[in-house]
């Protein structure tokens, strides 16, 4: 009898342990907690005229690889543009200081993230530096608005002009 009692007590303990392990797994591995970077990091600032749907803790990516996350988003009370503070993993310390930041959307329904395009400067970003070149998020409404204002893009005359320009375009860019 005591043997049997012992075995179900151990079993109950294992069950409770399994339940809490499942809860810990769900809470730490499948939620935004998993995105907190553990290692040391440094901060950069980027100013955007429009951040779209960018959220706190959104990823910062370079060449598609996650290198950090958005730490704070605020509005500059004087210049009236958005200040986005990002923290970059200390491992990626050699980002040229003329790199540019842009806000992209991952997929059609995905979240927005900050994408960093590397520049060519020999100097690298230091803690607290600011991105000189930024590109705001694409607003679908603006695109539609532009499209409506410009009218139909496939006028016969336009097409002919483009077709005539096209062959001469590559030599022009080479000059």
């Amino acid at each position: 009898m005591t043997q049997q009692r012992r075995s179900y007590q151990i079993g109950t303990g294992l069950f409770i342990l399994l339940g809490f392990a499942a809860l810990a797994y769900l809470a730490t591995q499948t939620t935004s907690v998993a995105n907190f970077s553990q290692g040391p990091s440094y901060r950069l600032v980027a100013r955007f005229t429009n951040i779209g749907q960018l959220k706190l803790r959104a990823p910062v990516k370079m060449a598609g690889v996650r290198i950090g996350s958005v730490e704070a988003i605020e509005l500059d009370p004087e210049k009236l543009d958005a200040i986005v503070r990002v923290s970059i993993d200390r491992r990626y310390a050699s980002i040229p200081d003329d790199s540019s930041a842009a806000i992209f959307t991952s997929g059609l329904l995905g979240d927005q993230y900050v994408g960093v395009q590397p520049g060519g400067s020999p100097d690298v970003f230091k803690d607290g530096d600011e991105f000189v070149l930024t590109q705001s998020s694409m607003q679908l409404e603006d695109l539609i608005g532009k499209f409506l204002v410009n009218g139909s893009p496939s006028k016969p005359g336009d097409d002919a002009g483009k077709a005539a320009d096209a062959p001469s375009a590559p030599p022009q860019t080479q000059h």
Partner: protein, 254 residues
């Protein structure tokens, strides 16, 4: 006709009232039942650990079905990258607690009712009272507590297996990108508003299901037919209560 209907309504109201009074008695007996902690542990084993197999199997299949169905729906919009997000949110916020509670009512609630009902039918509860052992503290309260302890844990196991099933279908079978699956999930699921929200729900469902099961067993007619009816009522009432309470809690926890 109307008199019969009125008496039926009155009976239903009386049931609800009796159930509420029973809950108060149960809560009053709970401190005394802590002396029988070993009995509570035995009930956690019986209602929780023994339900693991059915919970894990169902969780896996629910996750796999969700993966398939949502993949189909999302592919219409070209948004299959959001599969992990949608599956995890629907599991944590809704399906995990609710399906676990329905399975729990069928697996553990019925056996609680039948066990206590048979104790009532064979006068074991009366015998306990004669021996100055409070059957509420020794029989009812440990089962009630065990239900409250076991349900959230079972729901978490269900959710974890559901995510695993959806990953199996989405990534291993349908060829979704593994990194996209996880990174979209981790960027849109929040610990407090999603995971803990589901834990609150499953706590409440555990309390409701085990309260109904214990109440039905405790107040059953002391015949074999009465036990059969009580067991049926446990499943019917707790299913209705869980789904109705789910709506109310979702509205409040939004």
């Amino acid at each position: 006709m109307s008199a019969a209907r009125r008496s039926r309504v009155g009976e239903a109201l009386a049931q609800v009232g009796a159930c509420g009074l029973f809950l108060l008695q149960l809560l009053r007996a709970t401190p005394a039942s802590l002396r029988h902690a070993r009995e509570t542990v035995r009930q956690v084993w019986f209602t929780g650990a023994m339900s693991l197999v059915i919970i894990m199997t169902c969780g896996l299949f629910v996750g796999m079905v969700l993966g398939l169905q949502l993949y189909y729906v999302l592919s219409i919009f070209g948004g299959t990258a959001a599969l992990g997000t949608v599956v995890s949110l629907s599991l944590y916020r809704e399906l995990g607690p609710v399906v676990t509670a329905l399975l729990f009512a069928g697996r553990a609630g019925t056996s609680m009712t039948a066990e206590i009902g048979l104790m009532r039918a064979t006068d074991q509860l009366a015998a306990m009272e004669m021996m100055a052992v409070d059957p509420l503290a020794y029989v009812a309260a440990p089962r009630f507590l065990a239900g409250i302890i076991a349900m959230p844990l079972l729901a978490c196991v269900f959710n974890a297996l559901g995510i695993f099933g959806a990953h199996l279908v989405g990534v291993s079978w349908l060829g979704l990108d593994n990194g996209t699956f996880w990174s979209n999930m981790t960027s849109s699921v929040d610990v407090w508003t999603d995971v803990v929200n589901g834990v609150w729900k499953s706590l409440a469902f555990g309390a409701v299901v085990s309260l109904i099961a214990v109440f039905q067993g405790y107040t059953t007619a002391p015949t074999s037919e009465g036990v059969a009816y009580a067991t049926t009522r446990t499943v019917v009432f707790s299913s209705i209560a869980v789904l109705a309470l789910d709506f109310v809690m979702t509205a409040f926890l939004m």
